[in-house]
């Protein structure tokens, strides 16, 4: 009998989950997964619905994502209509009341960030414009700091028992981040005014923060694939107004930038765009370190 009790206790012990993370977090993009990991540490279990090699505009609400959304305590997305093509479906079909819009379990980074490029008129003839302004907001590190404040509060709201720890982790993060930003701004100072060509407006915040000058886009209209005609026109523009480099995100096809760069005789530079987009971009600090390195390398 004693053996039986001992045995069942052992079995119970085995069946009980090992020290589990308090919050199950699903993020729409890798940058927010990385930030949630910074702020939550071992209090959170984080996964990202997309990788740096996937276009966050064009994702499918595939079965595995529904299964993950079903179990999430907190869904962290960019918002500002970046994910309109798949996120509403994910929220509706997952049968998870916690992550619905308006619930504390749904966090939109755009609500805490400074948004640029708000369109004054909406017309699809303008291409795939984002009605709520440019949603690719994480490439301005000041936005990361703003979103971190909001996210730390939200984590604490959802897990009040560990509220002080989230606040402490955020304070640490903000300290490191401010120092890193000062360093990046120092490094990036000589890029100010550098003329560049970009693939899509997903680099607008980086351009805005570092004061680069965009003189052309590979996409004829936002969201439209580059066409031969548009690239030829762009090449003509570059003859009159030369650019220092052609920039694109890791998830974008290299073809158009390679074509233009070889003819204009300037470097084509792939930027990690988000965490995981290059070997150096292992976390948020690495993302900006690597981005600055690449820019400085392309514009000596």
């Amino acid at each position: 009998m004693k053996h039986l009790i001992a045995m069942s206790l052992i079995l119970l012990g085995l069946a009980a989950p090992a020290a589990r993370a308090a919050l199950n977090v699903l993020s729409c993009e890798p940058e927010w997964a990385a930030l949630a990991q910074e702020l939550g540490g071992d209090l959170v279990e984080v996964s990202s619905a997309t990788t740096a090699l996937q276009d966050p505009h064009h994702i499918e609400a595939r079965p595995s994502l529904l299964a993950r959304a079903r179990r999430a305590d907190l869904l962290i997305c960019t918002g500002a209509e970046l994910e309109t093509g798949w996120l509403p479906l994910l929220q509706r079909e997952a049968g998870n009341a916690r992550i619905q819009p308006g619930q504390p379990g749904y966090f939109e980074a755009a609500r805490f960030a400074r948004i640029i490029e708000r369109p004054t008129a909406l017309n699809r003839a303008q291409g795939d414009v984002h009605a709520a302004g440019n949603p690719h907001l994480h490439l301005d590190p000041r936005n990361i700091a703003r979103v971190a404040d909001g996210m730390a509060k939200r984590l604490a709201d959802l897990d009040p028992a560990n509220g002080a720890r989230y606040a402490q982790r955020n304070a640490d993060f903000q300290g490191h981040w401010a120092a890193a930003m000062a360093r990046w701004e120092q490094q990036g100072a000589r890029l100010r005014g550098a003329p560049v060509v970009v693939h899509h407006r997903n680099l607008s915040y980086l351009v805005d923060w570092l004061g680069l000058a965009v003189i052309g886009e590979l996409e004829p209209k936002p969201g439209m694939e580059p066409t031969a005609g548009h690239l030829a026109e762009l090449l003509e523009t570059l003859k009159a107004t030369p650019a220092r480099m052609v920039l694109r995100a890791a998830y974008e096809s290299p073809k158009a930038s390679a074509w233009l760069a070889s003819r204009a005789n300037i470097p084509a530079m792939e930027l990690p765009y988000t965490v995981g987009g290059s070997p150096g971009a292992k976390d948020l600090l690495g993302l900006f370190d690597d981005t600055l390195n690449r820019l400085l390398q392309a514009a000596p």
Partner: protein, 457 residues
Amino acid sequence: MFHRLLLAAGLAIVLASPARAASPDEISALRAEFDRKFQSLQADYEARLKVLESRVQTAEIKADNAQQDAAANASPPPVSSNAFNPDISLILQGAYIDRAGGERPITGFMPAGEHAHGERGFTLDHTEVVASANVDPYSRAFVNLALADEEVEVEEAWFQSLRLGHGLTVKGGRFRSGIGYQNEKHPHAWDFADNNLMYSALFGEALKQDGVQVRWLAPTELFLELGAEVAKGQFFPGSDGGADKNGAGAWAAFAHVGGDVGIAHSWRAGVSYLRASPREREAFLDDINDFEALTAFSGRSSAWLADFVWKWAPDGNPRQRNFIFAAEYFDRDEDGDLLCQDDSAAGGACLGLTDRYDSAQSGGYVQAIYQFMPRWRTGLRYDRLDGGSVDLGANGAFFDSADFDPSRWSLMTDYSPSEFSRFRLQFARDKSFQDDPDNQVILQYIMSIGAHGAHKF
């Protein structure tokens, strides 16, 4: 600025030297010292200038940023009362179709609805109007109307729960059933210009249900979804007669599993079951004299469906290239009584007898779609149905027994200038109508305007 520095440096050197006539040696030594000091001063000055410059730039950035911050915060997003209006989209889908004329029902299968005759030449087909919005924090409503000349068909009109949690979602109203894979997709989201033979034979277009659907998603790593529906059952394979009662004239259940394999592959597989009880379900069948006989079936219709879809994209990024494979299979049994009347008044064979009708039929399709470069896709589909066994009892004497398995090959290429428009060219070798194979060409366009919602996997 630089000249003054030079002057100052020169003066300093002169003042530092004793007031006496200098020898040529001393002069050259002095000059060397002057040059050295001057160069070091120059380097120092340049370094200071650089630091100053970068500090000014950083300050400029900061000032700029502060200004932009203020500007951005001063202009909150515009809000207007029509932000509460539903998302509305209109979908136009017209075509030019070249195919054999006349009625070409799928041989050996009870025609499902009025879609047996194909239009040809230029056609508007139908135009979809879609509206959807959250009703309140608890539910969402969706309407899809199909507009054609002199008719508006309510394709879907339902509400869906948003806040039940525990993996549960309830839908009520008229909705496309969750059975199978293609059933929930509207024609504008199909990968071919026309319907596959399986869905044509089973439902006409797709199974619509007026009723209630409950879905449950399991809290597991693997995607596992279970669903059940009870409905009025007035649409084929049900009938108005079967639906005219308290309770449900049809019910369905389905289970889907799915997941990812690595980062590049994802899949979903499912089984579904549908049961309907048609009463006096009318259909025209060609009799042995080639006259249209009016038949009425009462009994039980049950069908099993199996579906599988597999998608691939390099790195899971479908933007440049992607591949979709889908296959579905069904097995349907219908047992009951069939009344066969001579509808054409003269020459028809049927004598108004009611006798048993037992059929066991099956079929399916396999299709593959490949996007080989941005905007361009090509696809191949093979349809095949098995006429199976059909026992008409005493009425069997009035019909040719069809030992025929309908089939069709379709090849399409489509071009999408953007995600809101698509042009498609499709060729088909259609052998679904016995003894009269047909080569078909369809040139189709799909245009969607307004807020276009996301498509399911």
